[in-house]
């Protein structure tokens, strides 16, 4: 980002600006700590640019309205936290099924249930992957700074449009509420992706047909394509089906449209990994701690590197495998009782190499906790 026009900004506000930059013109939401600033920002900014904001009666209605706006033709987003995300889950599953692009921001707080409304957590990581019932492949990104709250939101909107799928932004209370100096980019600095529109004769349009890249074009309402969307398992035309071959085709397409395009979705940030013997794997607010710990450890002569997962789901298997192959030890640090660490264990052949530093008391992991862990595993 350019250094001009730098301003002090909150992560939730940067997220809101990122959404607008990426073309989001519809927001429906329900107040919940610690996400509410995203809604407040959208309520203020969207009508100024011809966009639309509505506060709905609950989170179920919020995501419903977002999906409705999306199929009507607008890029649409909502923001919430754990309890609200739980309420949205059924309709998020519907969005996977009808392939409605939309973005759900989950500014994570402690749980389960009402939990810790003002305290940080990363315990919804697995929920972002497996929230709704059924089989599908999810995309989730996790910013670790105010600047990334902007850029990763742009990327999340782009991915949702590109792949016709809901995308979850896993913010956490620390990133959502922290303030940093940022400058917002000019238009054109970051790419903005719009969903592909059909050009075929409406009589031939199959919203769920077998296409080469598994993603079908999607018209806005009123453009002559009077398609039918249902949460029922459907055939290529979108009509309910119970034919085994059509069921399998639909489910496999939902998976392949994500799995076959991992290079477009995978994103990790590596710091000092070239010669690292010990890798710190983290995401979201913990990645800040990891960077600080790495610098302290390097100062003491330890070869420590950092890997930050910017894409959390689908789990970035290949980039991580490559980065971790020459490391002696891997420490996964996260604010939950161990969610991503199991994914890392899955890809590091020698299970004994993987250690975890977990914290779930509503506080951030400190650099010194990580240093202690580094000392513990390196002896």
């Amino acid at each position: 980002m350019p250094q001009a026009d730098r301003q002090l900004m909150m992560g939730n506000t940067a997220c809101m600006h990122g959404a607008i930059y990426a073309g989001v013109r519809f927001y429906a939401g329900y107040p919940i700590t610690p996400s509410t600033e995203v809604a407040e920002g959208c309520a203020r900014e969207l009508p100024r640019i011809g966009g639309r904001f509505i506060q709905m009666e609950d989170e179920i209605a919020s995501i419903g309205a977002v999906i409705g706006a999306s199929v009507a033709g607008l890029k649409a987003m909502t923001a919430t936290s754990g309890p609200g995300y739980s309420l949205m889950i059924e309709n998020i599953g519907y969005a996977y099924m009808i392939e409605a692009p939309c973005v759900i921001v989950n500014v994570q707080r402690g749980g389960p249930s009402t939990g810790l409304p003002t305290k940080v957590s990363q315990a919804d990581t697995m929920q972002a992957r497996w929230g709704p019932h059924g089989d599908y492949t999810a995309i989730a990104v996790a910013p670790s700074s105010v600047a990334e709250a902007f850029t990763e939101t742009v990327r999340a909107v782009n991915l949702s449009e590109r792949f016709r799928t809901p995308v979850t932004i896993l913010l956490d209370e620390v990133i959502g509420h922290m303030q940093e100096m940022v400058s917002l980019p000019e238009a054109g600095e970051y790419p903005v992706v719009d969903r592909a529109k059909p050009t075929c004769d409406p009589a031939d349009y199959a919203p769920y047909g077998p296409t080469e890249n598994c993603v079908n074009p999607m018209p806005a309402y009123g453009e002559g394509y009077r398609w039918y969307a249902t949460g029922l398992t459907h055939d290529p035309r979108g009509f309910p089906t119970e034919r085994p071959d059509e069921i399998v085709a639909t489910l496999e397409r939902l998976r392949h449209k994500i799995e076959d395009h991992r290079p477009e979705i995978d994103k990790v940030r590596a710091d000092r990994m070239e010669d690292a013997e010990i890798a710190l794997v983290s995401y979201g607010s913990v990645s800040r701690t990891a960077l600080q710990a790495m610098m302290l450890a390097r100062g003491a002569g330890l070869r420590v590197g950092c890997v930050q997962l910017q894409t959390v789901w689908p789990f970035p298997l290949e980039p991580l495998r490559t980065l971790l192959q020459n490391t002696r030890k891997v420490i996964v640090a996260e604010l939950n009782m161990g969610q991503i660490v199991e994914q890392v264990e899955r890809i590091v052949p020698d299970g004994g190499r993987v250690h975890s530093l977990l914290r779930y008391d509503g506080e951030l992991i400190t650099p010194h906790q990580l240093i202690d862990k580094i000392n513990e595993v390196s002896t």
Binding site: F26, M56, D58, G68, G73, L74, N91, Y94, F239
Partner: protein, 286 residues
């Protein structure tokens, strides 16, 4: 002569319906023979045809249940959503694209039980959506359980000893919540239904049409009320035609009050108000 004239009128009517059926959707439909849902579907088509609405500008939104399967058969934009949430999705469609005509098809369980919260808030917002509630007094798709409109004492598969709960008066609920056009009709009164749905779609604001319908398969059978025709006859006998003095007339408890029950053309509509905001902000910029 008379039967010939009648049959040609009937052919014309079904021609209208045929012009709005989806070309790709294979019939027969999934409704039981004699179900009222098809009667409502024809009426909706005639209303849309009469109003001359372009197919591309009509969006049908529905939830889950027998009646919510209607959009699959009709050649409009169609969003068959999750149970009870049709009005939430419809609010998103309409608020995003006020140029579209949005019609919600819902049932008594979908609209008044799981979807009750969305109903009262859509009414309160007075957003320009037409909701057609097909009330058949029971959950049909899941096999005959009580709904919020099942009469007290009725037998269902979840009230085998009789329903001890009280019922929602859907129209009064909608009125209390702020809907600005409310009508009730039955599947027996098709001409009236055509008029009610036409007026509801024309009304600028939240319009609510309750259509009393027959589920002879479950409600009728479990309560020994007879087949479809017997239930239609019941609607015919109980319906008090014309404009009602009140939504629930104490004297007409055993009767069905039909017609336009409430109308308010003064209350502002949500999308219109939002447009004013957009206009004033863009003027401020200029």
């Amino acid at each position: 002569m008379t039967p010939a004239v009648k049959s040609s009128a009937a052919v014309q009517q079904s021609d209208v319906v045929l012009r709005y059926l989806r070309p790709h959707k294979k019939f027969p439909n999934l409704w039981c023979p004699g179900c009222g849902n098809g009667i409502v579907m024809s009426s909706l088509v005639r209303a849309i045809d009469k109003l001359g609405l372009a197919k591309d500008n009509v969006v049908l939104v529905s939830g889950i249940g027998c009646s919510s399967r209607m959009p699959v058969y009709l050649d409009f934009q169609a969003l068959h959503t999750t149970h009870g949430r049709a009005l939430a999705f419809a609010t998103g469609v309409k608020f995003a694209r006020p140029d579209l005509k949005v019609v919600v098809i819902t049932g008594d369980g979908d609209c008044l039980s799981i979807g009750g919260n969305h109903l009262i808030h859509a009414c309160r917002r007075n957003i320009d959506i037409t909701t057609i509630l097909i009330n058949n007094y029971i959950y049909g798709m899941t096999g005959g359980q009580i709904s919020p409109t099942t009469p007290s004492g009725s037998v269902s598969t979840t009230t085998p000893y009789g329903n001890m709960e009280k019922q929602f008066e859907a129209c009064e609920l909608a009125k209390g919540a702020g809907a600005t056009f409310i009508a009730r009709t039955t599947v027996y009164h098709t001409s009236q239904m055509d008029r009610m749905i036409t007026e509801a779609i024309q009304h600028r604001g939240f319009s609510f049409v309750e259509v009393l319908s027959n589920c002879h398969t479950y409600y009728g059978r479990l309560n020994r009320l007879g087949q479809a025709t017997a239930l239609l006859r019941m609607f015919q006998e109980k319906a008090a035609r014309g404009k009602a003095k009140s939504i629930i007339d104490e004297e007409s408890k055993d009767m069905i009050v039909t017609g336009v029950l409430h109308r308010d053309d003064e209350k502002t509509e949500l999308c219109d108000e939002y447009q004013k905001l957009l206009d004033s902000l863009s003027k401020g910029k200029a």
